[in-house]
């Protein structure tokens, strides 16, 4: 009798110990994530904040940090906006084909192919952009310069290499299409059948059904898909660094050979020659990029959460 009690006690003690150890392990993994993120911020700050107030010679042509980072930020945002303008309609189109237009045996391979596009490493996109896409676009740029030169975006002189911010934007667009497509496709497909049938039963065409039932339901998902794509486009480094021939400050001229660099591509191209002081400046620009992408992603999540609450009501 006594022995069994003892045995049970030790078993219980062991399981209690096991539970304690295991839950602590899980907890510390969770805390490790918090710590990692805090560390990212702290170490970037330690190394980057001195970069905010260096003597003027560290900032090239600019006189202070903000003068240095402004054209880079401009280039980052410009390339990302071009990417969005190209990618968003295409992505929504593909998502609709997969969710509502194509029969299943066509839709599945299309979805698969687009997912493949997501798996291609950015350095390969860069390689393709510089050696295939850019030369193909040169005649188009020359044509735009000749025929649409009065539009400030196409003021020219057209780049002869095709390595312009517009090319970079198009490569970025191809890279973010899978992201926007994947999320949009999912929210389109999640539209309750009931609402779609309600629209069809009123005599709606397919497009009217999409407008009546699908888009209102999917709106927040579509917005957050775009925001996540934007976040990716802002932070993408290699494709831009490889494709873009950077140089020159803020300019809306999309097809010339003097383009603003992006923050990320500027870091990738300049870290090597960097003295410790110069590297602090680069890290400070990285901090700016971090904050911008953080805000964009944060906004995307916020949109999603708000609408989830709205639909749950």
């Amino acid at each position: 009798m006594a022995t069994t009690v003892v045995a049970e006690d030790t078993a219980r003690a062991r399981s209690r110990l096991g539970d304690r150890v295991f839950s602590r392990l899980a907890l510390s993994a969770g805390i490790a994530i918090l710590a990692a993120l805090a560390a990212v911020f702290i170490f970037l700050a330690i190394e980057g904040i001195p970069g905010l107030a260096k003597p003027a010679e560290f900032y090239g042509d600019a006189s202070n940090f903000w003068g240095y980072v402004a054209p880079l930020l401009f280039g980052t945002v410009l390339a990302a906006i071009i990417a969005l303008i190209v990618a968003v309609p295409l992505s929504w189109g593909i998502a609709l084909v997969v969710s509502h237009y194509a029969p299943k045996r066509v839709a599945t391979p299309i979805a698969y192919v687009i997912d493949l596009l997501a798996a291609v490493p950015s350095v390969v996109f860069g390689l393709w952009g510089i050696s295939v896409l850019a030369p193909r676009l040169t005649p188009a740029y020359a044509w735009l310069d000749e025929n649409a030169g009065w539009v400030p975006f196409f003021a020219g002189p057209a780049s002869t290499t095709g390595r312009t911010i517009l090319t970079a934007g198009i490569v970025l667009a191809i890279m973010i299409i899978p992201i926007i497509t994947a999320i949009s496709r999912e929210v389109f497909a999640q539209t309750p059948r009931l609402h779609e049938e309600a629209a069809l039963a009123l005599g709606a065409t397919r497009w009217e059904m999409l407008r009546l039932a699908v888009f209102p339901y999917a709106r927040s998902g579509m917005v957050s898909a775009v925001m996540l794509g934007l976040g990716r486009a802002l932070g993408e480094t290699m494709a831009v660094a490889m494709v873009l021939s950077a140089g020159g400050g803020i300019s809306f001229n999309l097809i010339s050979s003097t383009n603003p660099a992006s923050i990320a591509s500027n870091i990738a191209s300049n870290y090597k020659e960097g003295t410790p002081g110069k590297i602090q400046v680069l890290i400070a620009t990285g901090l700016v990029l971090f904050l911008v992408t953080f805000l964009v992603n944060f906004a995307a999540r916020w949109v999603v959460q708000r609408s989830e609450r709205r639909l749950a009501r």
Binding site: A26, I33, R136, E236
Partner: protein, 365 residues
């Protein structure tokens, strides 16, 4: 029963019923497509434009002509519907083109570079005629990714276990979920800068080591692992856990013996996909792992080349072609490396999907 009839009820329309709205014939889209291709061929023939111009023109002619015709016959609703249908399919076609072009180019230009020398030699040479290859970069990629996985898989899985099994919506868990979201959005170059800042603070300003790259990559991997594991654990039905508790099994053994094995397939899929995602990362490794021509097996010391970094630098400094106008050696190496990299990534993806399909929870019957 007295029913109150509404004063002015809606009634069925009294005019004659017709279900036959005027419609374009069924072959209309095909006909317009043929005409559009033919019409677009004219400028191609007379002005010598290329195939791309032809395709673009034909697409535009189709997207204008069909809705106009439909508008004349079916009215504006039918026209809009046809326009949108044309547009979404066009979007699809346009997006497939770059992918096909990219894959074709990589295979076309990469294949000639690949042979056993290319895969088994490094770029370190003692005299100029020596053959070179990407062996050192393969080893670098393998080791750095391996160590990244060693860091992120345990942390990621345990964190997901905390979120699902222990946290259950408490304040800390909500914060972790939120920050995992934030981490998903960290630009890879920022992850690289972090590792760089961390290691130069710890080991001095000119530190370069493969492990730094692993740290940067794990920052990108962890959120993917947490996310996919979380999703899989959520799919494990609570009945299973309760059945185990009812047998007197302690919680941690329930998790290890019941919950994790049930979700294993999905977790492995998630981990494989996360590896596929970071194996092609360039930016962070460029900063902290550096570049070397030699094969380095020690992730904790000295520079280490990875495949993406090799592609980037070879493309940036391609060297001089042996014959004038020929392919420059660096470009050839870059494409060969790109092909190898894509093959690795695609294999990882296929493996992940296969595992996912095999272990997919059997739903319903």
């Amino acid at each position: 029963m007295s029913t109150v009839t509404p004063t002015t009820p809606v009634r069925p329309r009294s005019e004659a019923v017709s279900f036959t709205a005027a419609k374009l014939p069924r072959f209309a889209p095909a006909l317009v497509a043929v005409v559009a291709i033919a019409a677009a061929a004219l400028p191609v023939l007379f002005m010598g434009a290329g195939a791309i111009t032809w395709a673009v023109l034909a697409g535009i002619v189709y997207l204008v002509a069909l809705p106009l015709w439909a508008r004349a016959v079916e009215g504006s609703r039918g026209a809009t519907d046809r326009l949108v249908t044309g547009l979404v399919w066009a979007a699809c076609a346009v997006a497939i083109v770059p992918l096909v072009s990219l894959l074709w180019t990589v295979v076309d230009r990469g294949l000639p570079a690949i042979n056993t020398t290319f895969l088994t030699f490094s770029m370190y040479r003692t005299d100029l005629d020596q053959e070179v290859g990407i062996y050192h970069a393969l080893i670098g990629t393998l080791l750095i990714t391996l160590f990244a996985a060693l860091i992120s898989v345990p942390i990621g899985i345990m964190a997901a276990i905390y979120l699902i099994e222990y946290g259950k919506g408490n304040r800390l868990a909500r914060w972790i979920t939120f920050l995992v979201d934030v981490m998903t959005g960290i630009p890879s170059i920022v992850a690289g800068l972090f590792a760089f800042a961390l290691f130069i603070l710890l080991f001095g300003p000119s530190t370069r080591m493969g492990f730094g790259g692993s740290v940067a990559l794990s920052l990108l991997m962890i959120p993917i692992v947490v996310r996919s594991t979380e999703e899989m654990l959520r799919l494990v039905p609570d009945e299973l856990r309760e059945a185990s508790y009812a047998l007197g099994v302690p919680k941690w053994r329930t998790i290890v013996k019941v919950v994790l094995p049930t979700a294993l397939g999905g977790i492995v899929t998630g981990v494989t996909l996360s590896i596929a995602r970071v194996v092609g990362e360039t930016a962070p490794l460029l900063l902290i792992a550096g570049l070397t021509t030699r094969t380095n097996f020690n992730v904790f010391a000295e520079r280490m080349t990875t495949l993406p970094v090799l592609i980037f630098t070879q493309n940036a400094n391609p060297g001089i072609a042996e014959t004038p106008g020929g392919i420059r050696p660096g470009i050839e190496i870059a494409w060969g490396g790109a092909l190898v990299l894509i093959v690795i990534v695609m294999l990882l993806n296929i493996v992940a999907r296969t595992i996912g399909a095999i272990f997919a929870p059997k739903t319903g019957h």
